[in-house]
Amino acid sequence: MNAAANAPRKLPGPVRAVGRRLPRMPASIAFATALNLTLRRKFPADVLDRLEGHTFAIVVEDAGVELLFRVRARRFVPVAQAAEPVLRFRAVAWDYATLAAREADPDTLFFNRRLLVEGDTEIALLVKNTLDTIDIPRTRGILRRVLRAAAPGGG
């Protein structure tokens, strides 16, 4: 810690080339499923209601992947296309992972231009603050171990 203070670690170039060629939907389905399994029950119902009907895009820059999902009936649902998501996040896979593991500070990544957020600032703040409220120690523990193993000299 602080993982965010280190230089951004990017996936190898070929990963991006492959990612761009993959169909978007399977990745979005997997991501929405993971959200439903790990986060849905932890999200306060009133927050899910405020996000109802909105589409979100998560761009993993170095993987060449854009994950799209919508909140519907308090669930995360994968989406194939979205004209204008309410929020679009852009970062590399490593930075998303350090955020999820609570090893990086989102504002710091934002100040460093490593996390780009486009769209409705109020919803962005609601999402950020709600994620900060949620404790998922087991998932975070696994992520931290993966990050340690993936870091240079880790193993």
Partner: protein
């Protein structure tokens, strides 16, 4: 005029007062050595009224339990100004804080202080930085009239001025040690209301999120508040929070920050002086920041405060502390703010 209080050798380290916008941030503060954790309710009774942030009764009750089990105290910030039509909401917030068993409330408004002192005489009162009391006369007035036990000094005083205030008041003095800086007329700033229609003093936020727009243009990232262009950031620039006081504007043909540069306050190097002059507590800004920020800042400042208390003369700021703090600072520049003004 009150008799001067001679500085005494410190009997304990200065207290470390850390921010919490969420329960995990509270735990991070307590686990890493905060003496006091300050937080707010989920409404405009506090100056960090942002969506998804702050505590309801249940999370506050759990937070107080957690902090007390580990020997820390919980302070509730009720540091905005009630209006005639909203008075009962602020009054109810005082009652809630008292009934939940918080250790102190941090209040700015004189009417609310009067209410709290009368309705809850056992409840410890701290004068908020938003109270904007910069002289010992003002602080002593609040002490005599409402029994405040601690006052947070506005970030406009030099070290010499703060020292004079401390020497002339029986009230514990808390000063800001670290965090984002704003234009520093706390409690009296209505600047952002020109762009948003809302004042931080009554609505609890300088830049309400609904008024903020970030837009990536081909050549720059733009931030706007209520339609007003606050700043443009090139590829190498570090964006900060979009407040009017830290905006970059064209003035007489020159483009610069006419009010305040987007920097962070960092007073680690002043710790021996602050301890010697009798500062009771050091406040860390950042209730809007993540648990990771709170963990990092609390850990560094706990270590520094303890090191300073052990041996004030030999205290040196460790590069590792500065690196850790620089990594999470807004603007990537740290200053001593008003504590050091060579022209004073």
């Amino acid at each position: 005029m009150n008799a001067a209080v001679l500085p005494q050798p410190a009997a304990r380290p200065m207290k470390l007062v850390c921010p919490a916008g969420t329960p995990p941030a509270l735990k991070a503060a307590v686990d890493n050595g905060a003496d006091d954790v300050y937080l707010g309710f989920k409404d405009e009774t506090n100056a960090r009224n942002f969506a998804g942030l702050n505590f309801d009764d249940r999370s506050l009750r759990e937070g107080i339990d957690y902090a007390h089990r580990k020997g820390a105290q919980v302070l509730v910030a009720l540091n905005t100004y009630p209006q005639p039509e909203s008075w009962r909401k602020w009054q109810a917030a005082v009652n809630r804080a008292a009934s939940l068993g918080v250790d102190a409330i941090i209040v700015a408004d004189a009417g609310l202080l009067a209410y709290a002192a009368k309705a809850h005489p056992q409840l410890r009162l701290h004068l908020s930085v938003q109270g904007s009391a910069t002289s010992h006369e003002a602080i002593n007035f609040y002490h005599e009239r409402f029994g405040i036990r601690r006052a947070v000094l506005p970030r406009v005083l030099s070290v010499e001025q703060a020292e004079k205030v401390i020497a002339r008041t029986p009230v514990e003095i808390e000063v800001f040690g670290f965090g984002s800086l704003s234009i520093m007329v706390e409690g009296r700033c209505a600047l952002s209301s020109y762009a948003t229609g809302e004042s931080p003093n009554t609505h609890g936020g300088c830049s309400p999120a609904k008024a903020i727009r970030w837009q990536q243009r081909p050549d720059a990232l733009e931030s706007r508040l209520g339609g007003v262009l606050i700043d443009r950031f090139g590829a190498e620039d570090h964006p900060g929070y979009p407040t009017l006081c830290r905006g970059r504007f064209v003035v007489n043909g020159d483009t610069y920050y006419p009010f305040e540069e987007p920097t962070s306050l960092n007073t680690l190097e002043l710790l021996p002086r602050l301890q010697a002059m009798g500062v009771a507590a050091i406040k860390i800004e950042g209730r809007q920041r993540s648990p990771v920020y709170v963990e990092t800042v609390t850990r560094v400042w706990r270590e520094a405060l303890d090191a300073c208390f052990r041996d004030r003369e030999r205290f040196r700021v460790k590069p590792a502390w500065q690196d850790a703090l620089a990594g999470i600072s807004e603007g990537h520049q740290c200053t001593l703010g008003a504590y050091h003004r060579p022209w004073k």
